[in-house]
Amino acid sequence: MTAPILQIKGVTKRYGGLTANSDITFDVAPREILSVIGPNGAGKSTLFKQIAGFVTPTTGEVLFKGNRISGMPPHKVARLGVVRTFQETTIFKSMTVRENVIVAHHLRSKASLLGFFFGSGQARSDEEDFARSADDIIDFLGLQAIRNEMASNLPQGHLRALGMAIGLATHPDVILLDEPFAGMNHDETMRMVGLVRRLRDERGLTVLLVEHDMPAVMKISDRIVCINFGEKIAEGTPAEIQANPRVIEAYLGSEDAAIGM
């Protein structure tokens, strides 16, 4: 077995009296697609926030390639190669789709602050590279037609895809997608499922995702972790999870899980 790229070790997050995550432990292998499922308020987004540096665990730690990343600020975690997309639509509203993706290439820029200011050769060639790479990402996600649209004018499905494009622009090793298929119809979802697979197959990304759309989760995941009331209650392949009585009782049998779509 290869060394895990990401290790979640006993992560616990308390908000006052509320325990959002309780002693969660699991590993993620490189190039794995792993889904985190569970009812509303189970603590899935909280877990993602702790991995990406937005929230510091009360106890426990997150290791990336063996090094501790929990507690680091988000920009440092992103620099190392772990980036998250947001559950709430999160984009730069007053920029076009293309500007959004270009600006998100910041981590790739090699120019200094003064280089930016004086428009040094490095800064200019960086910007050209970013524009090219942004167009690649836009094409990959099938957003060509709306390249120059203002982000604020986009429908929900496109916003989700743009959020993913922004994440991809940082060229991460690990991408955390928080409900990437929310607001998409069945066809759009299946197209995105295919794209996420290709991210892994063609670009070697490791993908963690939170989703309520069960058919999509079962189709896309190598493994699934199920959380309930902040605790991990199961971990396994889609078939194992579907047959797990605790998961069925806590989640799959409930209305939160969108099963038939």
Binding site: P74, V83, T90, F92, A104, H106, L107, L113, F117, A123
Partner: protein, 323 residues
């Protein structure tokens, strides 16, 4: 740069450096020099406020840095015998350094909380100037010498202002040159990756952090540049009036800097410059209305903000969002 833009810049420079002085000489309205010098300097200060707006922070504390810069320059000149031209960058840098210390804690605040704290800053600066021995309390610092000679390797770049026949013109040219430089810097910042990052910060700080931007540092940097401009403007004001008091810059000045930006347009680099010009002249013109001056002025401001929420410059912006 496109040809039309180059033409515009050329016309602007011609107007500022040739036409305005020519007009004043022909009409004999020497008082215009003082007015226009003030507009130029205020617009330098407002440029800083605009930059803090650009990272999504409402800055109502620029008066504090203008006051601080003024005192730094005045103290260095009167007590240290330092040449004015050297005190100018020192005043700016001192303000930038102080703003880093203040900015690190307060820039975490957003919206109205940040605005409130900065509003208090101006008052804190005034009270500090009143209390400290080095600023000479309420008596302030007076009889500050005019700017001396600036020479490099024996070559006189700028003559001693005291020997000039027309120091008003000299001050005007100096303020105008500083204004042009300031807006050049601002324009470069906005149109470089630095500006794009500032915009990303303004639009969504969390997302900005998640794409790897050191948001805390970028905020402090923008605030430091802003305060640098404030300090520069303050130092020159002091050189013109040859005196400084704790009340030289007060809360209403800070508020005005912010209003200049609002009126001109927060989305346009040259917004604060136009806003300063319009508001400064507007206020003067309204003096014919006597006791109704403030009423008409405020009423017009409110109306303008309602009709043109994106500033006066949005009138000329057909595309929307262009710089």
């Amino acid at each position: 740069m496109t040809q039309s833009r180059l033409l515009g810049v050329g016309a602007f420079l011609l107007g500022v450096f040739v036409l305005v002085p020519a007009f004043i000489h022909l009409t004999g309205r020497w008082d215009f020099y003082y007015t226009l010098t003030s507009v130029a300097l205020l617009s330098v200060s407002a440029a800083g406020v605009w930059l803090t707006f650009y990272i999504g922070r409402i800055n109502i504390g620029q008066g504090a840095y203008a006051l601080l810069g003024g005192y730094v320059s005045a103290i260095l000149m009167t007590q240290g015998g330092v040449n004015f031209w050297l005190t100018l960058p020192l005043a700016g840098l001192f303000c930038a350094a102080v703003s880093v210390l203040i900015g690190v804690p307060i820039l975490r605040l957003r919206g109205v909380y940040f605005a409130m704290v900065t509003l208090v800053l101006t008052e804190v600066a005034r009270l500090t100037a009143l209390a400290l021995p080095i600023t000479n309390g309420a008596k302030g610092i007076t009889s500050i010498p005019l700017p001396g000679e600036l020479s490099i390797f024996g070559l006189t770049l700028i003559p001693d202002f005291a020997t000039l026949e027309n120091p008003k013109l000299a001050f005007y040219l100096m303020a105008a040159a500083l204004m042009v430089l300031t807006y050049l810097v601002l324009w470069r910042i906005v149109n470089s990756r630095l500006g794009h990052l500032c915009r990303s910060l303004q639009q969504n700080e969390e997302l900005s952090a998640s794409i790897g931007v050191n948001t805390a540092m970028l905020r402090v940097l923008a605030y430091a540049i802003s305060s640098f401009f404030g300090g520069l403007a303050g130092a020159i004001f002091v050189a013109i009036s040859q005196s400084i008091y704790p009340s030289s810059f007060v809360v209403s000045d800070s508020v005005n800097f912010m209003l200049y930006c609002f009126l001109g347009g927060l989305g346009y680099v040259f917004g604060p410059m136009l806003g300063t010009l319009l508001l400064y002249f507007g206020w003067d013109l309204l003096s014919v209305a006597r006791e109704y001056q403030l009423l008409i002025y405020s009423g017009t401001m409110i109306a303008l903000m309602l009709i043109l929420p994106n500033g006066v410059l949005s009138l000329f912006d057909r595309k929307g969002g262009s710089k």
